[in-house]
């Protein structure tokens, strides 16, 4: 039946219709995000307030404020330009030019005059070079550790594992980075403290951030997977499998792990697109020229247009992640219907 080309075509059609429907659902959410950022950045504080803040509160003249606003294109009305004619009433406004334009990925320019879209395109690579290995290695490490604890559940080994997890997740993420840099780079001189290089030469810069990234969430993630596995292994079908005389390892891998895929996918697939955004802390400590350090620099320089762009990009990627999650359900679980 599965070899039937008619059937395969029907599945494909259903899948595409499903995808389109999911994407249509996503649009109102993006509009909501867009309106929220617009309100946050232009209504809570008017462009005049921002100009006054950036130019210094004390010595600021109305002319300087006007100039600052004009340079950034903030000298227009917020929502409705009654001075303009026709469609210009709507398009010649801050909302249209600064906020709505983000839907076509037009992010405008940062305070130092560079195109934000181009910066994002350039910086995604380095971010991904750290985030993707961290994600993949992390997934393998956490799942294996959790399986190990599940295998030895309710023994001293399991208790020690959980205790270790609680201890590790109680340590601040900053400690792993500062401590790791100190021990590995400063005491042992194994890898450079910070920096980045493309290609094979970049390997030595990537190792430490990846290792620290993996260790940093070993505690919370392994514990989370362990809970999922334990919940599965308490179910009836697992008891049946054991009663059949299957070895514990076999039960764990071919039954528990397989059936735990749904909860695992829920938590995992959604973060994949967000890997492009990089990590704020890791990138700023290790001097990686990715999107994370771009965001931190923008926050410190109070470059609002960059922060606004990153907020929109982040939620766009998150929504892509949600759609991917739904699609992945249909792949691993035939019970999830496409209607």
């Amino acid at each position: 039946m599965f070899g039937n080309p008619m059937f395969a075509r029907t599945i494909l059609k259903l899948m595409i219709a499903y995808l389109i429907r999911r994407i249509l659902y996503a649009i109102p959410i993006l509009i909501g995000v867009n309106l929220l950022t617009f309100a946050l950045f232009f209504v809570v504080n008017t462009p005049d307030d921002m100009a006054r803040m950036q130019l210094g509160i004390k010595r600021v003249t109305p002319e300087a404020i006007e100039k600052w606003k004009q340079q950034r294109g903030y000298d227009k009305p917020l929502l409705l330009n009654s001075a303009a004619s026709g469609a210009g009433k709507l398009t010649d406004t801050i909302f249209w030019q600064k906020s709505a334009s983000m839907f076509v990925l037009d992010f405008g320019y940062s305070d130092d005059g560079r195109s934000i879209a181009r910066e994002i395109a350039q910086r995604m690579g380095p971010s991904l070079a750290i985030a993707l290995p961290t994600f993949l290695i992390g997934l393998v490490v956490y799942v294996s550790f959790a399986l190990l604890m599940t295998l030895f559940r309710a023994t001293a080994l399991d208790i020690a594992g959980v205790a270790l997890c609680v201890l590790l997740m109680s340590v601040s993420g900053l400690f792993y980075i500062i401590g790791g840099q100190f021990v590995v780079s400063k005491l042992w001189h194994l890898v450079p403290i910070s920096g980045y290089d493309g290609g094979i030469g970049g390997f030595r810069f990537v190792v430490l951030p990846v290792v620290i990234g993996v260790i940093g969430s070993v505690g919370s993630s392994s514990r989370w997977y362990r809970t999922i596995f334990l919940e599965e292994s308490g179910k009836d079908y697992v008891r049946t499998a054991r009663a059949k005389g299957l070895s514990e390892l076999r039960v764990l891998f071919s039954h528990v792990l397989k059936n735990a895929m749904i909860p695992i996918l829920t938590g995992v697939v959604v973060v994949i697109p967000l890997l492009f955004m990089g990590s704020l802390l890791t990138e700023s400590f290790f001097g990686i020229p990715g999107l994370g350090s771009y965001t931190i620099d923008a926050i410190n320089a109070q470059d609002f247009s960059v922060v606004r762009a990153m907020v929109f990009l982040g939620s766009l990627l998150y929504i892509v992640g949600l759609i991917l999650t739904d699609v992945s359900y249909t792949v691993v679980d035939p019970r999830v219907r496409l209607s």
């Binding site: 109102p28 109680s170 500062i178 609002f304 907020v311």
Partner: protein, 490 residues
């Protein structure tokens, strides 16, 4: 010396939380079915030890919340003027720690500065040596006496603490035993479930046997309590003449900074719940119970909010708050009130970004509950919607709320440090773990290395968060009805 009590915004919120907590405890105390899960928490030795550590932190935080301003010396009969510096009762208690500042870095328990300087001796010759500290070990005639003095003082303090600890533990054990009236037995791990501890029969060997039983069933807590008391004793005894954790770049005592950071962390961890709780509870059960367009709107709102990565949303909101605060300097009469309002806003922002998860949980649970027979019965009897929500839904989702709140606490304390590092946390002038780490992060690169400020910040944070995590786990285990208790899950 006259003073004026000051209630900052965050203080008021802490008092509000405290009142809510006390009335909640009062309510639970008189209802056996609500008390039962707490009994289970009390049976866990880990939970009780972490609770002891947590209460210590909370005590420091509370003392640090009672603020006041001292009156300045009056000038010929004019209206009294108060110092712009806002102090707390805790500041008053540890005045030496606060005021005895050195010139710059000094190591823990050091008697000299951390780096050599040119000093002129009695003969007027200039030599490069480590200068003595102004306060740390100033009572010593010679540097070489330090080790003996530190040991002796530490020992004396620890012994003092030990004695006090044993006394308090003994008295509370006796008192708690007296209170056992069979109605209200402490269920130790030894007597779990069945055998109730009989009431204390007065005097004689039997009484002693009961005391022994009580101590046996609570030995972890008692030992932890005595160790903590000894530690506090040793620290207090040493802190009077040394900088126990050294001093930072501008010579401030690191122990003082660490203790002051506790309040900031606790406020972030607790006041935030004042925002998340009402939002999540109201919207969650409204969406789940009323369904229809209400559900659609609420789901839309929380999907939008949760689709923005939380660090970015917090960063954006904090940046905007900074603009508002900076353009309205006239709102604040002291620097402390400014920093404080920023802290309250930070809690508000953290709350606005973190209620969505709990809201989703509550909606799901309410969806399940509204199909239950007792709800249908209430509907059939014509009980109003509000009545059903208040009488049937809210009590039945309370355990989810409680678990979520205790689990969030430690995450929020950790988040404060990260956010302050990123530059969107508390005001730079406010003492917190984040600002301490931020100020000290480049010190590891100095020669010779300065490690104590970082170590102190991370150590205190670890103690607080670990205790909170362990306690939260015990609470979750005790309240989660889904948990299969026979499986022995940790």
């Amino acid at each position: 010396m006259s003073f004026m009590p000051v209630i900052l915004w965050s203080d008021a919120l802490v008092f509000l939380l405290l009142a809510a907590g006390i009335s909640g405890a009062w309510y639970v105390r008189r209802r056996e079915h609500l008390l039962l899960p707490w009994r289970r928490v009390a049976q866990s030795a880990t939970a009780m030890v972490s609770l002891a550590v947590l209460s210590l932190f909370f005590a420091v935080g509370l003392l640090d919340t009672l603020h006041y301003r001292v009156a300045l010396p009056e000038k010929n009969g004019s209206a009294s003027v108060y110092s712009p510096e806002v102090l707390s009762v805790f500041d008053k208690l540890v005045t030496p720690l606060r005021t005895q500042t050195e010139k710059t870095y000094s190591a823990p328990l050091a008697v000299t500065l951390h780096a050599k300087e040119s000093i002129s001796d009695a003969q007027g010759r200039v030599l490069r040596d480590y200068p003595r500290l102004r306060y740390g070990g100033a009572h010593l005639a010679d540097v070489s006496q330090r080790d003996g003095d530190v040991l002796w003082r530490g020992f004396k303090g620890a012994m003092g603490g030990l004695v006090v600890g044993v006394l308090i533990a003994g008295i509370t054990s006796l008192l708690r035993m007296q209170n056992l009236d069979g109605n209200n037995p402490p269920q130790s791990p030894l007597v779990r479930g069945n055998a109730r501890t009989p009431p204390l029969t007065r005097g004689g060997w039997e009484g002693l046997a009961h005391l022994k039983k009580y101590i046996d069933s609570n030995y972890a807590l008692i030992i932890a309590f005595i160790i903590i008391a000894a530690l506090i004793g040793a620290t207090a005894s040493l802190a009077s003449v040394y900088h126990v954790l050294g001093t930072d770049k501008v010579g401030q005592d690191v122990l003082y900074l660490s203790l002051k950071s506790i309040r900031t962390g606790l406020i972030i961890g607790t006041v935030t719940t004042l925002v998340t709780l009402p939002l999540a509870l109201l919207l969650g059960i409204a969406a789940g119970y009323l369904r229809g367009w209400v559900d659609d709107v609420i789901q839309y709102v929380y999907t939008v909010l949760s689709s923005i990565p939380s660090v970015l949303l917090i960063a954006a909101a904090v940046l905007m708050m900074q603009v508002t605060i900076d353009t309205h300097p006239e709102w604040f009469d002291t620097a402390a009130s400014r920093a404080d309002l920023r802290l309250v806003f930070l809690c508000l922002i953290l709350g606005m970004t973190s209620w969505t998860g709990l809201c989703r949980l509550l909606r799901g649970e309410t969806l399940k509950l509204r199909e239950q027979e007792y709800i249908l019965a209430a509907q059939a009897f014509g009980v109003s919607t509000l009545g059903i929500l208040a009488r049937h839904i809210v009590p039945n989702v309370m355990h989810i709320i409680l678990i979520a709140l205790v689990m969030d606490f430690s995450a929020l304390v950790l988040a404060e440090a990260v956010l302050s590092y990123v530059g969107v946390g508390v005001d730079p002038s406010m003492i917190s773990f984040g600002t301490m780490i931020n100020a000290a992060r480049l010190e590891m690169g100095r020669e010779p290395m300065v490690w104590w400020a970082l170590a102190a910040a991370f150590g205190f944070m670890l103690a607080l968060v670990l205790a909170a995590n362990l306690f939260a786990d015990a609470v979750r285990d005790a309240f989660d009805p889904r948990l299969n208790r026979s499986e022995g899950t940790a």
